[in-house]
């Protein structure tokens, strides 16, 4: 088992550009909002497309929750198990928005830059984070709807390749 697998659970990964280059369309963000909240908004998403037009091959970068095994966001939540919850079976940390008070402790605890937790437009703002579409039988919507299959799940093989991408 690699280091990455020990540190992070199953999560969304972006493939290298020679497997498939992100087209920058934002569909992943849009379907994520549509499926969870029935709307689209730059403020309502759990996957983050950062567009860049520099000359590197990976111009458009995709970030979402890495599902850290030690889940610092869950640990930091003041309303743990009521707002930020842990699905014991899958290890997925998810937000129960009804009980979120928008205190941002989870956001502060997220070790990544950019942060993998966002806040919606409600008052108070509620935390949003990737839950791997845990209640969706088809699995992650962003992966399903990406037109160029440039994102996938960390424990699945990359298109056309044997190895997994972590």
């Amino acid at each position: 088992m690699s280091n990455t697998e020990q540190k992070y659970g199953r999560h969304i990964v972006q493939y290298p550009a020679d497997v498939s280059m992100c087209a920058g369309c934002g569909t992943c963000e849009a379907v994520c909002g549509l499926i969870h909240d029935g709307v689209t908004s730059p403020s309502i998403k759990r996957i983050f497309l950062v567009r860049d037009t520099t000359m590197t091959e990976d111009m458009h970068k995709i970030y979402s929750c890495q599902h850290c095994v030690d889940h610092p966001c869950y640990n930091a939540c003041r309303r743990k198990d009521s707002a930020m919850c842990l699905d014991e079976e899958t290890g997925i940390v998810y937000v129960n928005q009804e009980n979120c008070i928008g205190c941002r402790q989870c956001w502060k605890a997220c070790p990544f830059e950019p942060k993998r937790i966002a806040f919606n437009l409600d008052k108070p703002r509620k935390a949003l984070k990737c839950d791997l579409c845990r209640t969706r039988p088809e699995g992650p919507a962003c992966v399903e709807y990406c037109q160029v299959s440039c994102i996938g799940l960390s424990d699945q093989p990359m298109p056309g390749k044997e190895e997994k991408n972590e």
């Binding site: 280059m21 920058g24 934002g26 549509l34 458009h60 437009l121 440039c150």
Partner: protein, 686 residues
């Protein structure tokens, strides 16, 4: 009526003269006019009367999204602008579509669109910040290239801001100046960049963080599965040692080529834009003088133009078994044909070779430099590559330029990167006598220089590969309304056949500009088989034209794109998109009726504001049809007019004047338009 989803409900009226902003309800115009171009037409009809010129402060520039914009519906991320076009000859009411993330953000910022009025007293940019609109001095930005301007605005306003900007061409009122988004998508052909310039408007930036609620999420998700074919095909970046700007053209590139595909706008499922990474910049670029170039369509011709694009009926016509969106050769997506299709035995896939034109041979750096210069200066690539460059090539070969000295310190040579650099600089900065002439656009330039010699001289270097004959074509390549040939059967990018270019000629006739950015003609393959022998006498050509015109209206009212619609064997697609966005059910017939309303309102504007008549438009579009196409075919005056008669009849337009009848306006719910036209004597006599 149930709640209307998809729209955010407000259109901002932004007055540059006195820096004021007011709001208009979108629901004054929708659902009757759908959105986008439909709403622009209605606002323009209501607010801008005859006599206004493109650069007058009284000219308005109306920017609209559609109901699909920002909802995540594939290709709905695009937007439309309408105004009087300085790049039309004569200046007329016109439209221009644009991709990018800007329109989507405008909607997230709480506006379905905005109306730009007046003229700012000094260089200005507008900032739309989540429902708050402010005016700012653009003195610091004036003179900057497009990428510099984009970068500077990000520095000032933040990285989460999206902008549309003009470059020096727009500032200097170059008639074919473009407006550019952060991902180099442009509104170019109408020359609205110069309208920005005339209003002292350098840029509009937006930050939008709000939400858009669509009417039917399930339908949106379904559209993602059905509209893009095939979903989920990977898009690997490709490393090559040669470049193939078009499928049958390939030349080696020392240093190699790095290419990929990117989307032009939010929710796009077509990713038709070809991005060339790390290429030689025309101007600016990074410290090594390198940049990226995004090619949509026309840009690919700058790399090589010895042989015109060929055509296969499949590019324009579809069968149930092989039903693909057209013009896929840029994206390289192509398709894998179903070879069991009986249409293949009837020539469905037969490649018809393009004419040999011998303009310039393969040069990767030159192509990138020219494309980059067009982007950075903010000037229409189509006019530069297809028109200035090919005119230079043909005029030079015919000796027409022998006694001209542009004062550029080198020999005239459009195949030379350095020459084109100097030539474009001369135009964009209006340097000297010739700079000013060409900054007026080619149509005006050849008239100033002298039409007989500089426009009508015949180019002797065009040879048809289909007939083996030399084919005559005037060096002007002019088609109509101050625009040049496009998908016109002859000239440049034009080796389609008469079944395709003839309806396109009618589409151009009723337009005010080259209409091929949204009306590449499509129909089912049986249309092709039925009409090919005698198209001018087959009413199906007229009905096919009308169908395509309505599809074009819907593309830019609903918001979609040329690579997505029409879907020939899914006629409900537009209704599905509309319902997914708004929650309102419309039948195919109802939504096409709305398209017809939008088209007739456009017509009414042209009749009232620009004096449009049958004589004017037939005479405008006919001359180029007298030159042979790639098969050697032309169309006679009588035959063409016969087709026009059939077309007008089917449209409910008077055959003598070309004006819609009162019955037509009334059938479309445009009684008040008929009343106004009647009052000024512009309804046909009964």
């Amino acid at each position: 009526m149930n709640k209307i989803y998809g729209y955010v409900g407000k259109i901002a009226r932004i007055n540059l003269t006195d820096s004021t902003v007011t709001e208009v309800s979108t629901f004054n115009y929708v659902p009757k006019y759908i959105g986008g171009r439909g709403v622009c037409n209605k606002i323009f009809w209501d607010e801008v009367g005859p006599g206004v010129k493109a650069f007058d402060p009284e000219n308005k520039l109306i920017f609209m999204t559609g109901p699909t914009t920002s909802t995540g519906i594939p290709t709905g991320g695009r937007s439309t602008m309408c105004s009087i076009s300085p790049n039309n000859l004569p200046e007329q009411y016109c439209w221009s579509g644009i991709g990018g993330w800007f329109g989507t953000m405008v909607k997230f910022a709480g506006y379905d669109g905005f109306i730009i009025e007046g003229k700012a007293p000094e260089p200005t940019y507008i900032f739309i910040d989540d429902g708050k609109i402010t005016f700012h001095s653009a003195k610091e930005l004036w003179g900057m290239l497009v990428h510099q301007t984009q970068k500077k605005l990000e520095e000032i306003l933040g990285k989460d801001v999206n902008s549309i900007v003009i470059g020096p061409a727009g500032e200097n009122l170059v008639r074919n100046a473009s407006i550019t988004t952060s991902n180099d998508s442009v509104a170019a052909k109408a020359g609205f960049g110069a309208v920005f310039g005339s209003k002292n408007l350098k840029a509009i930036s937006v930050r939008g963080t709000g939400k858009v609620q669509a009417g039917n999420v399930e339908k949106i998700l379904k559209l993602h599965k059905t509209m893009g074919k095939p979903i989920g095909k990977t898009n690997p970046i490709q490393y090559k040692d040669s470049f193939a700007p078009r499928p049958h053209i390939n030349f080696p590139v020392p240093g190699g080529v790095k290419e990929g595909r990117v989307a032009c706008s939010y929710g796009c499922n077509q990713h038709c834009n070809l991005i060339l990474l790390d290429v030689k910049a025309g101007i600016g670029g990074n410290e090594k003088g390198r940049t990226n170039v995004v090619n949509k369509c026309v840009g690919i011709y700058a790399y090589q133009m010895i042989e015109d694009s060929g055509w296969t009926p499949q590019m324009s016509f579809n069968t149930p078994q092989n039903d693909y969106a057209g013009c896929r050769f840029i994206s390289g997506d192509g398709f894998t044909p179903d070879l069991s299709d009986p249409a293949i035995n009837e020539g469905f896939l037969d490649r018809q070779l393009g004419d040999i034109v011998n303009y310039w041979d393969g040069d990767y750096d030159r192509g990138n430099v020219i494309n980059d210069l067009c982007t950075q200066y903010g000037i229409d690539r189509w006019d530069v590559i297809i028109w200035y460059m090919s005119w230079l090539a043909m005029a030079k070969k015919e000796g027409v330029l022998d006694d001209i000295d542009f004062g550029l310190g080198m020999e005239i040579d459009p195949s030379s990167e350095e020459f084109m650099k100097r030539f474009l600089e001369m135009i964009v900065y209006r340097k000297g006598y010739y700079g000013n002439i060409f900054a007026e656009g080619m149509a005006r330039a050849i008239r100033t220089l002298g039409m007989e010699k500089y426009g009508k001289t015949i180019y002797t270097g065009r040879v048809s590969q289909r007939t083996g004959n030399q084919q005559i074509i005037p060096i002007s390549l002019e088609s109509a309304w101050g625009h040049c040939c496009h998908w016109a059967g002859r000239g440049f990018q034009g080796s389609n056949d008469i079944t395709c270019w003839l309806p396109i000629a009618i589409e151009l006739m009723t337009s005010t500009r080259d209409a091929q950015t949204n009306t590449h003609h499509h129909d089912s393959f049986d249309y092709y088989l039925e009409v090919r022998n005698d198209p001018c006498h087959n009413p199906r050509v007229a009905s096919s034209t009308i169908f395509n015109e309505h599809c074009a209206e819907l593309k830019e009212s609903l918001m979609s794109c040329e690579f997505q619609l029409p879907q020939i064997f899914d006629k409900d697609i537009e209704s599905e998109m509309f319902e997914a966005a708004t929650g309102i059910k419309m039948t195919h017939e109802e939504i096409y009726l709305a398209a017809e309303r939008i088209k007739n309102l456009f017509r009414a504007i042209l009749i009232r504001n620009n004096g449009r008549t049958r004589d004017m438009e037939v005479n405008e579009v006919y001359p180029i049809l007298t030159y042979p196409d790639a098969d050697g075919r032309t169309v006679s005056w009588e035959d063409f007019n016969h087709l026009v008669d059939m077309y007008y009849e089917q449209r409910g337009w008077d055959k003598k004047t070309g004006w819609p009848t009162r019955e037509t306006y009334e059938r479309l719910g445009l009684e008040e338009v008929a009343d106004e036209l009647e009052a000024i004597g512009k309804l046909p006599e009964k």
